[in-house]
């Protein structure tokens, strides 16, 4: 790859080894990026549904999902727009708990995460199982704000953050892959930050 004349970039001496390639540490900032108007979703009408290739379609209300065993993620998040953020904590429920209640059929290979706004994003089933994904409502000990996807968002921290659908309303299990909102717009189907899978073909 050609060198850019006169570009040295920031010092790499103190580059945090937790930073995937092409990312920078946003430190105290938590940038906000989404394509739709920020919705206001009251918890009284919030629901979360697991549907598609499952034994039983299951829906939870706000109170019902809070009655499930709690689960916490502590660590980094990585946005495709090149910021990363370390040492965050998110509280909610493991997607494993939600899937166990619905009973995925053996034919299920992928999921489509769906939001109350109509936003969608696709993921291989194995990227949301075995402790890799959550539905979360608290960030760093405080309720998730609307701009960050509150009252609840999906959290899949090992993939770029557009996979962590804001205002999530459910998961639909499928026997094939199908592109979601950003994926149809050129973004990668998987989005592994360590492989720098930003766009289709990366």
């Amino acid at each position: 790859m050609a060198t850019t004349r006169g570009f040295l970039g920031r010092s790499r001496a103190q580059r945090d080894p937790r930073l995937p390639p092409g990312q920078y540490d946003a430190r105290d900032d938590w940038p906000v990026l989404h394509a739709e108007a920020t919705p206001r979703i009251g918890t009284e009408r919030w629901t979360f549904t697991v549907e598609g290739l499952v034994e039983n379609e299951v829906s939870w209300t706000w109170d019902e999902i809070h009655a499930l065993p709690p689960s916490r993620y502590a660590g980094a998040i990585h946005c495709v727009t090149t910021w990363s953020k370390f040492d965050m904590t998110f509280d909610g429920v493991s997607v494993d708990t939600l899937l166990a209640a619905a009973g995925p059929l053996p034919t299920a290979t992928h999921v489509m995460a769906v939001s109350h706004t109509g936003y969608t994003t696709n993921l291989p089933l194995e990227d949301v199982t075995d402790g890799k994904a959550w539905v979360v409502w608290d960030a760093d000990g405080a309720p998730l704000t609307t701009e960050h996807g509150g009252p609840a968002r999906l959290l899949v921290p090992h993939l770029y953050f557009w996979k962590s659908a804001k205002w999530v309303s459910g998961l639909r299990l499928m026997d094939h892959d199908e592109q979601g909102f950003w994926e149809r717009n050129g973004y990668h189907d998987r989005g592994d930050p360590w492989q720098e899978q930003r766009y289709q073909g990366d």
Binding site: A2, T4, L33, F181, Y199
Partner: protein, 248 residues
Amino acid sequence: MSTTPYGTTHRATLRWQDAVVRSVRDETRSARTLRLELPTARPHLAGQHYVVRLTAPDGYTASRSYSVASAPADGFDEPPVGHIELTVERLADGEVSGYLCDVVEPGDELEVRGPIGGFFAWAGTSPALLVGGGSGVVPLMSMLRQARLTGRADLVRLVVSARSPQDLYYAEEIVGPQTTVLYTRQAPPGAGRAAGRLAVADLAGLVRGGEDVYVCGSPGFADAATAVLVEAGVPVPAIRVERFGPTG
């Protein structure tokens, strides 16, 4: 927001190519426009963006996204090459924006890929209300330019918010019958409106009904503008938003 009405980004547009900087010009004290020649023309839709990747001698890279400011109708009449203009705001401590605003010279090569984005794009054939704050005017300028160049200026209405006259991008070109300029901190002498943020009264007569609305700016501007638009009667599904984060 579940559909992408104007198509998708094709794989070919995601191949990197070495663009040549043909000219640079300052828009304000903190923003500069680069006119790039692309070896392979890939005409964009107004509103789409490119990624620029800089590579240091040791292989370290930094990439950022920038909206295209020029119109699709400007720059694609000399195949196989194409031309685009990117306007870059110099951010405090901006690793990439600082380079593009202060170091780049005509003749330099820059790795780019694009155009990218199908959602915040205007095909140029339907009524559109454009609302931009600060550097958020850049993709909207591509839409205004396209409307004017194709004789469809009637389709577009632009509301642009800037801190002061010195902070208005494309100051000479942007004004016209399609454009309403709002100053938030300091209005020029004789302006018909006191300095202040976008309010419902500023949209009087601009919301026609049935148009697509494109909002671009900082997250704070985008949310405030969206609230004002909804108050003015614009249905939420008609609003597309592009938020600029602090991406260095």
